[in-house]
């Protein structure tokens, strides 16, 4: 009897357990992740991500900065892409990752009726798509970001439509931001790591970007006008309320705490201190010839300087205009083809074996291949996690002034006073790097009077403006876009380039998805590219030397 009781109890207990069901649908609600979050949190993610991405285009190992002859690689590492233009396929993955989140901000701004967020989402959308199309050409735009609606293989839109969209987005955002009612909509100042929730700054940024993009498509203004975009009036409209001082600049500061928020050259991101990235001789010599103080912000003197005067090796103390003191060994030489300056840049496009021995003269000692004492290093601030002048620029005030100078020079916009804007551009750039007239021995007028600097002494005004802009855009990708558009500055390639004596024009598309349906879209876009004589015969037109719509028929660069 007892046994039977036990059996009954056990079986009943089991049955009871079995029937005490949990609600299966309830179980499948994630306890870990939110379904909805405030746009403020997404905004920080997008801003930090976009700033980092955009900044990375100029450094480190940037093939663009190699092309624009800001720097060269001093060893074999990355030399093929930076020095020799063997560019791998580009990647737009992170741009679209950010766009996905920008889209969420945009959608939420409408459902939550926050005009400020809407405007910001438009600015960011324009900025990111702008970067994509500037780099690659045609790109998924109108059908992109619709995976949730089953569109996995969006078509590649023609570039002109993307620029149209960008300019429209920027215009719309500037209209929203210019509305006095905007102050009613709040954004967490802490979350807005660009402008601390200040709509006025955002307005200026939106308008400045409009200037940038109007000028970007300047050579194609007729085609744009067929699409209903009048570049001139757009420009004129935006120029009325763009950046007016360095305080307006769009940049994100590094925090220097962890790898992901620190400068790319610092120890948190570079286990091997970056001495292999060398300033390029082109920029160094340009700065030297103009006695440009920015040189000393960016570049260190050599450790061993060849010298025609000294008769024996002597250590000399070199003090920069910023008061930094370096000890430089002066080495006597009579070699007339050697670079005897204190700041020595590495010539562009050199053979790896030659660059390892560059400017070594008759010195037979072996040096660390990345640390030749005869070639200048970048300033130590480029090997720090954080530094006063090291930041992620999206757009600087100087660029706006140079755009205005160019517009005035072109004389079809309402902007006038080219030289004034040109000067303001230089001053703004100097200020960006902590160089202020009258301090530290810097005299702006003395600098400006240099015939290589002053506007009036230039025979080609546009070249003069863009040359200065190129300097101001040190390690910025924007200088490459200017060069493509104007052919300035005139840069000459060196002995070893992958596809011949010319500079690349675009990024190759990311590795296409192998799906046949994807390739249909991809091929259409590739077919719209225009091959140049530097694209190898039989090679796909998806090449760094093919011309995108923006460059087609412009005879530029």
């Amino acid at each position: 009897m007892k046994a039977i009781k036990i059996k009954t109890i056990v079986v009943l207990t089991l049955l009871f357990q079995m029937t005490s069901c949990m609600d299966l649908n309830e179980l499948n609600i994630s306890p870990n992740s939110p379904v909805d979050v405030s746009s403020n949190y997404i905004l920080t993610h997008v801003l930090s991500g976009t700033a980092k991405l955009y900044n990375n285009l100029g450094e480190p190992y940037s093939s663009v900065s190699g092309v624009m002859q800001y720097y060269q690689m001093g060893t074999n590492e990355a030399a093929s892409s930076v020095n020799q233009y063997l560019w791998p396929r580009g990647s737009w993955a992170e741009y679209y990752e950010n766009l996905r989140n920008v889209k969420i901000i945009n959608e939420k701004s409408k459902t939550e009726n926050n005009k400020f967020f809407e405007a910001i989402s438009l600015v960011l959308r324009a900025f990111i798509y702008g970067t994509i199309t500037d780099l690659f050409g045609d790109a998924p735009y109108s059908e992109s970001l619709l995976a949730s609606e089953g569109i996995y293989f969006p078509k590649y839109d023609e570039q002109k439509y993307i620029y149209k969209g960008i300019l429209e987005d920027l215009k719309k955002s500037s209209q929203i931001l210019a509305d006095p009612g905007i102050s009613a909509y709040k954004i967490d100042a802490n979350a807005d790591i660009l402008y601390k929730g200040n709509p006025d700054k955002w307005l200026k940024f939106a308008n400045s970007l409009r200037l940038r993009y109007c000028m970007r498509v300047f050579n194609k203004k007729d085609e744009m006008s067929k699409l209903g975009i009048d570049i001139v009036s757009e420009f004129n409209n935006a120029s009325a309320y763009a950046f007016t001082s360095n305080d307006d600049e769009a940049f994100v500061s590094y925090l220097g705490i962890a790898a992901e928020n620190s400068a790319p050259g610092g120890p948190l991101n570079e286990a091997n201190p970056n001495f292999r990235t060398k300033p390029c001789r082109t920029i160094v010599d340009t700065l030297i010839s103009r006695n440009d103080p920015r040189l000393q912000r960016w570049v260190m003197p050599v450790q061993r300087k060849w010298d025609y005067q000294v008769t024996s090796i002597v250590d000399k103390s070199v003090k920069t205009i910023f008061g930094e003191i370096y000890t430089v060994k002066y080495i006597p030489t009579t070699n007339q083809v050697i670079d005897t300056s204190l700041w020595v840049g590495l010539p562009q496009n050199m053979n790896v074996v030659d660059l390892l021995n560059y400017n070594k003269g008759d010195d037979i000692a072996a040096y660390h291949p990345e640390r030749s004492p005869y070639i200048s290093f970048l300033h130590p601030r480029y090997r720090e996690n954080i530094g006063t002048y090291i930041r992620m620029d999206l757009m600087m005030y100087s660029e706006v002034e140079f755009l205005l100078a160019e517009a005035a020079q072109k004389a079809i916009f309402s902007v006038t006073g080219a030289e004034d804007h040109y000067k303001k551009g230089i001053i703004a750039s100097m200020k960006r790097w902590g160089i202020v007239d009258g301090t530290g021995g810097f005299n702006f007028n003395a600098y400006y009077d240099n015939p290589k600097v002053s506007y009036n002494s230039a025979s080609n005004k546009l070249e003069r403006i863009i040359d200065q802009k190129w300097v101001s855009l040190w390690l910025e990708v924007e200088s490459w876009f200017d060069w493509r558009r104007t052919g300035y500055p005139v840069l000459i390639t060196g002995p070893v380039t992958q596809y011949g004596p010319a500079m690349p024009l675009r990024f190759m598309y990311p590795l296409p998805n192998p799906d046949a349906k994807y390739l249909v879209n991809y091929d259409e876009a590739v077919n719209r590219l225009e091959t140049t004589s530097y694209v190898p015969a039989g090679q796909s037109k998806d090449h760094t030397y093919s011309k995108m719509w923006l460059l087609q028929g412009t005879n530029k660069p």
């Binding site: 979050v37 996995y152 925090l255 705490i257 192998p514």
Partner: protein, 1193 residues
């Protein structure tokens, strides 16, 4: 009066050795013999002549002259004084009377046997255990003799087998022993010997064919003949007769249709694939069910690049009774969702059931792991990039100066003095060490009429071949059953194990904290032993000593950058069985598998890539519980019809928790706590998830006359992970087994014949929270929180997966089981598989959860068992397992046609709709496409003189497939008396793998074949040679590091060594927009390259250049076992014991011959493996040698 029988056997069988055995051992007396004895003893005349001889000597003299045999107790006569005798032509009684006088001994003569004993002691026969010889012949019912029949004395290990004539002999057998006659396919017989001397046996064929019983789904023990599907099994005997160091070895090669590999060192994850990888998304691992406890076995192969092992690596092989592999869905249908990849049922040992008392079993094994084949790096050139004339110690490449020729350079440890560059060809060997594994296990068991128990305690300790790596495991296993009443019993199983490692090897080739990578990238001029004291003197704990700035010291990594774990796991079961009536029974059980795993990763200060160190701790907890109620009904309906059926319900609940804290940088060196993390670098994450499945299922098995069996099963699951409307899914299965050998009269040589067929479906759910979009949290930006939507597009309308499998097979036994064949052909069609398919990021998602169309696997499984030789003491068995599988992507999903599994430089592993899983693709070399050009098909070289890739995605070419064509495993076993020799040989044919080690080895100038490019004749113009034989040159590099290796002089820089090299082809020069091709064939316009770039651009961008055949033959295991004779062991109370010598992986042949084990060509890929990619983590080939002792008390 006692009656003794004299057994008159073959005289030779009474060996002389018997004489000196204890008296109690044998005595032969008998009245019959006594009659003739008198005459012999009286008629035989003997001469004895001794002086001071021992009694034994005298007995020997007599034996030598006569047929007399003496029996005595040695102790009795040892103490007796020597005697001197001189007798001629005397009868034996005269001699003995004289010799034994004054000794206190007396004698007794029976026939020719003489027994010597102390005077007055009782007749020895009374205390004697009687023993005798038995002979006989075994035949079958038709009168044919049966060779190879096993005859065992029950309760002992004594045994023999019949010879070719069916005859057997037991020379020494106790009265009333029970002989057990066993022969496959025959009814076994037990015969009490009584006092018989001859026992002839007729064995009847077993009425129902094979009595083989296998464990099937839900732990049901079924007769194998009744199954309509293929079940692979490794029986307890097989596991125990050839002792195994780990469960992996126990299974490898023994079951057809199964592929097993282990990536890392001892304790690392075991990768098991049954019938091919049909799932594109998950790890394809089968479900493990250990004593009825479903155990999660997900791969655990990526924590900071190290492999932490999966469930099967936690098991103690000494506890395993048997392993059943349920391969197809038919077999697995009853396990539901997770059985889609097959089920491995492990039954641990319960009581030995050998009678009363406590049994004790002790196993001990020791194994040493000896690395014997190292990847062959080159040792002729040192570190550098710039060619044979420049030493650049800071670089990772080895394209530098020649070694051992007296070139002097300042080196990292030469104190600024230029010293000659010398090679260290034993560099790799010096670094590795001999590993060892010690395993001990003790088990106690006992049983009585009310129940049994078995308690096993095991311990394993391993040290790895890489310094400071280890693995340990402790296990306690308790199996008990108790009958509460005749009809009610309770079974409890507890399997607790604790495993851990102080450091597991980082096998991520992409990580510079990989010991292997750091070791392999050190230059040939580096004496690795100089790095052994890995701290900079005076900077211990802060700065490692190293020879190259962009590397880590491998000793530093091994000792300081450790990845450790400890895992506590308890698998438990409580089961209640109630036999309600003869027909009805009820079973209820609760099972639980839970483990906690603590992982820790340290990075010391000065680690390359993490200069101020780092620390990560991870705390995981996983639990799964099942509650099951099962009502069983079985009935013999008529004489011919039997039915066995059940209905059951189950509730499964799974819970996972994970805490992960990481400090990416530390403040105080050598202090590993999260709170020591640099502010802002600490990240925390905590997640948990749960899922539940409710199920109702049932089975009916109908048996007609033991010749036809039909199984029908059905199951319905309700899973929490699927959308409400798709939550419930039903899947049926049916299988049929027809025994032709029962139905029809077969020729005599066909012993057994069966046809089986099955079709089944398994439904599967998905992981939790796959339906809705959720935001993710990014690392903080200062004091701002960052959140984002990740690229995975969830799917709120997911359907359950359905794997439909169909199989048909035949089982044959021939010649009384001397030959057996099991063959199965199967098709598995996997539909609606939930897959996170990659989509182009511009679509707004990086991957989307979809239900895929159809993946189909087809394959053959063939098992052949043979016994080529059976002789009296010798037996040779030979088993073959053949596996062939191919999986195809038949349909993908609406709008999608390609799945990419992995990308490598210049290619990918991806499959197009209609293609095979595992295809490897390459973007080919760019060649001249203009057919009218004389240079058509010449490689088109870039302006800098290097090969270039054809970038058009439509031009990709298939270069291989990562799957084998077939696997054939052969297991010969030779048994000779107490010895058995077992071997396990695996032959994997076909398939390709991409080797990162080879690719980086070429890129870095570290391979032996990087001295020079394509060989050519120096005396013939190179341009002509290339044109004459373009295929040999195009795609490769021409030149070398020195003139002797094919290098050309540098016309432009004569100061350089002769190492100018080039990539042959043509390049294009455009003049006025018109292009012309210029030959780049070593002639005047050639674009010369340094050897590094010439080699790099010919190999690195093209995966086919580093793609190798995966064909190999491996001698996985050889073991020699000796079972101690029972009679020796009985003295020390040991019942069964054996010693085995084991050697594993002592031989391997690969078709590729690049010293890389194709079996390890997997890239760890968090929670899965990318097959077909060897990821820069080639370990030396390591053989193991050792022994195992087994004692049962």
């Amino acid at each position: 009066m006692k009656m003794y029988r004299i057994i008159l056997g073959d005289k030779r069988s009474w060996t002389k050795t018997l004489r000196i055995m204890k008296l109690s051992v044998i005595l032969l007396l008998g009245s019959l013999a006594a009659m003739s004895a008198t005459s012999y003893s009286q008629n035989t005349k003997l001469n004895v002549s001794t002086k001071n001889s021992s009694l034994i000597d005298i007995f020997r003299q007599i034996e030598d002259q006569s047929e007399f045999y003496f029996y005595f107790n040695k102790e009795d006569i040892k103490s007796k004084e020597s005697v001197s005798v001189e007798l001629k032509d005397a009868v034996i009684s005269d001699i003995l009377d004289q010799v034994l006088s004054n000794t206190g001994l007396e004698y007794k003569i029976i026939d020719r046997y003489v027994v010597i004993k102390e005077k007055g002691t009782p007749d020895p026969a009374v205390t004697m255990q009687m023993s005798h010889k038995i002979t006989g012949i075994v035949t079958d019912t038709s009168g044919a003799t049966l060779p190879g029949v096993s005859i065992v004395v029950k309760g002992t290990t004594n045994g023999t087998i019949t010879d070719v004539n069916g005859k057997y002999t037991f020379s020494d057998i106790s009265e009333n022993s029970i002989l057990l006659f066993l022969f496959v396919g025959m009814e076994s017989q037990e015969i009490n010997t009584g006092t018989l001397t001859q026992i002839n046996v007729i064995m009847a064929e077993s009425a129902i064919g094979l009595e083989e019983v296998v464990v099937t789904a839900l732990g049901l023990k079924r007769e194998k003949k009744a199954l309509g599907y293929s079940v692979g099994e490794v029986k307890g005997e097989e596991l125990r007769e050839t002792p195994q160091m780990n469960v992996l070895n126990a299974l490898q090669g023994k079951v057809s249709g199964m592929r097993i590999s282990q990536m890392g060192a001892a304790g690392s994850s075991v990768n098991i694939i049954i019938r091919g990888a049909t799932s594109l998304s998950n790890d394809n691992q089968p479900l493990f069910v250990i004593d009825g406890v479903p155990v999660s076995n997900q791969l655990n192969n990526y924590f900071k690049g190290a492999d932490m092992g999966n469930a099967i690596s936690d098991l103690n092989p000494d506890d395993i009774e048997s392993v059943s592999v349920l391969k197809g869905a038919s077999a697995a249908a009853l396990y539901g969702s997770r059985a889609g990849n097959g089920v491995i049922l492990i039954t641990t040992r319960s009581s030995l059931k050998r009678g009363k008392g406590i049994g004790v079993s002790v196993n001990s094994s020791s194994l040493i792991d000896i690395p014997y084949d190292y990847y062959p790096f080159q040792y002729k050139f040192g570190t550098g990039k710039a060619g044979a004339h420049v030493f650049q110690e800071g670089e990772n490449e080895s394209w530098g100066p020649q070694l051992d020729v007296g070139e002097k350079w300042v080196q990292w440890n030469s104190n600024g003095v230029a010293v000659p560059l010398v090679s260290y060809p034993n560099k790799i060997k010096d670094f590795f060490r001999t590993g060892y594994t010690l395993a001990n296990n003790i088990a106690f068991d006992g049983n009585n009429e009310n129940g049994y128990f078995r308690l096993s305690i095991g311990n394993m300790k391993n040290t790895g071949i890489i310094p400071n790596t280890d693995m340990k495991r402790s296990t306690i296993n308790l199996n008990t059953q108790y009958k509460l009443s005749d009809k009610f019993s309770v079974t409890v199983n507890l399997n607790w194990n604790e495993s851990g490692s102080g450091n597991q090897v980082n096998i991520d080739g992409g990580d510079r904290s990989s010991v292997l990578r750091d070791l392999y990238e050190s230059g040939a001029q580096v004496n690795i032993l100089d790095l052994k004291n890995y701290w900079m003197p005076g900077m211990e704990g802060i700065m490692q000593l190293k020879n190259a700035p962009k590397q880590n010291n491998p000793y530093f990594v091994a000792n300081e950058n450790t990845n450790s774990f400890s895992r506590d796991r308890l698998m438990s079961k409580v089961q209640l069985d109630w036999e309600i009536t003869k027909e009805w029974s009820l079973m209820g059980r609760f099972t639980r598998d839970a483990y906690g795993e603590y992982r820790e990763s340290k990075k010391a200060f000065s680690t390359y890539g993490q200069l101020t160190g780092g620390y990560t701790v991870m705390d995981l907890y996983n639990k799964e519980t099942n509650m099951e109620l099962n009502l069983n009904y079985k009935k013999k309906i008529t004489e011919d019809w039997n039915i066995n059926s059940f209905v059951a319900a189950n509730r499964m609940y799974m819970y996972n928790k994970s805490l992960n804290n990481e400090a990416a940088s530390l403040i105080i060196p050598d202090l590993y706590t999260i709170s020591n993390g640099t502010p802002g670098t600490i990240t925390y994450s905590s997640t948990w998830s749960q899922k539940a499945i409710y199920s109702v299922y049932g089975m009916a098995s109908i048996d007609y006359k033991g010749m036809a069996y039909l199984d029908l099963t059905g199951r319905n699951d309700w899973s929490s992970t699927l959308p409400a409307k798709n939550k419930s899914y039903f899947y049926p299965a049916g299988s049929l087994s027809l025994l032709f050998s029962e139905m029809f009269t077969m020729p005599k040589w066909i012993t057994y014949s069966k046809l089986r067929a099955g079709a089944a479906q398994v439904g599967n759910d998905t992981s939790p929270y796959a339906l809705n979009q959720y935001f993710s949290v990014d690392k903080d930006w200062g004091n701002a929180k960052q959140m984002y939507m990740s690229g995975t597009l969830k799917n709120s309308s997911l359907l359950p997966e359905r794997a439909t499998s169909k199989e048909i097979g035949m089982d044959w036994k021939f010649l009384n089981n001397r030959l057996g064949l099991e063959a199965t052909y199967y098709i598995v069609q996997n539909k609606n598989q939930v897959l996170a398919i990659s989509v182009p990021v511009e679509s707004g998602a990086t991957n989307k959860l979809i239900n895929t169309g159809l993946i189909e696997s087809r394959g053959w499984e063939i098992r052949l068992t043979t016994t080529p030789v059976i002789a009296r003491d010798f037996r040779w068995d030979m088993n073959f397992n053949f596996t062939k599988n191919r999986s195809y992507l038949k349909e993908l999903a609406e709008g999608l046609t390609n799945v990419v599994f992995a990308n490598m430089e210049g290619g990918s592993i991806s499959t197009y709709e209609g293609g095979a899983i595992g295809d490897i693709w390459e973007n080919p070399l760019l060649r001249v496409k203009d057919k009218s050009s004389p240079y058509f098909d010449y490689p088109l070289i870039s302006s800098s003189g290097t090969y270039q890739t054809d970038n058009d995605p439509k031009h990709i070419v298939k270069i291989g497939n990562s799957n084998q064509d077939f696997i054939l495993s052969i297991q010969p076993t030779f048994t000779y008396k107490a010895f058995s020799l077992y071997a396990n040989i695996d032959w994997n044919q076909g398939g390709e793998f991409y080797s990162y080690t080879r690719m980086f080895g070429s890129n870095g100038g570290k391979n032996e074949d990087t001295y020079g490019g394509v060989p050519y004749d120096k005396n013939v113009d190179i341009v002509d040679q290339i044109k004459a034989n373009p295929d040999a040159f195009f795609g490769n590099w021409v030149g070398g590091r020195l003139a002797e290796y094919g290098g050309f002089p540098w016309a432009a820089s004569p100061e350089r060594f002769d190492d100018a090299s080039f990539n042959p082809g043509v390049y294009e020069v455009k003049v006025g927009g018109v292009g012309t091709y210029v030959e780049n064939l070593g002639g005047p316009n050639t674009k010369w390259l340094d050897p590094m770039n010439a080699c790099r651009y010919s190999i690195r961008p093209f995966p086919s250049k580093s793609l190798y055949s995966a064909t190999y033959v491996k001698l996985r295991e050889v073991s020699l076992t000796y079972r101690f004779p029972k009679k020796w062991m009985k003295k020390i109370l040991i019942q069964n014991s054996s010693v085995s010598l084991i050697a594993t992986n002592i031989f391997e042949w690969t078709a590729a011959g690049v010293h890389i084990d194709p079996e390890r060509a997997y890239k760890p890929n968090d929670g899965a493996w990318t097959q077909g990619m060897e990821y820069y983590n080639t370990m030396p080939w390591t053989g193991s040698l050792g022994f195992k002792l087994n004692f049962n008390f």
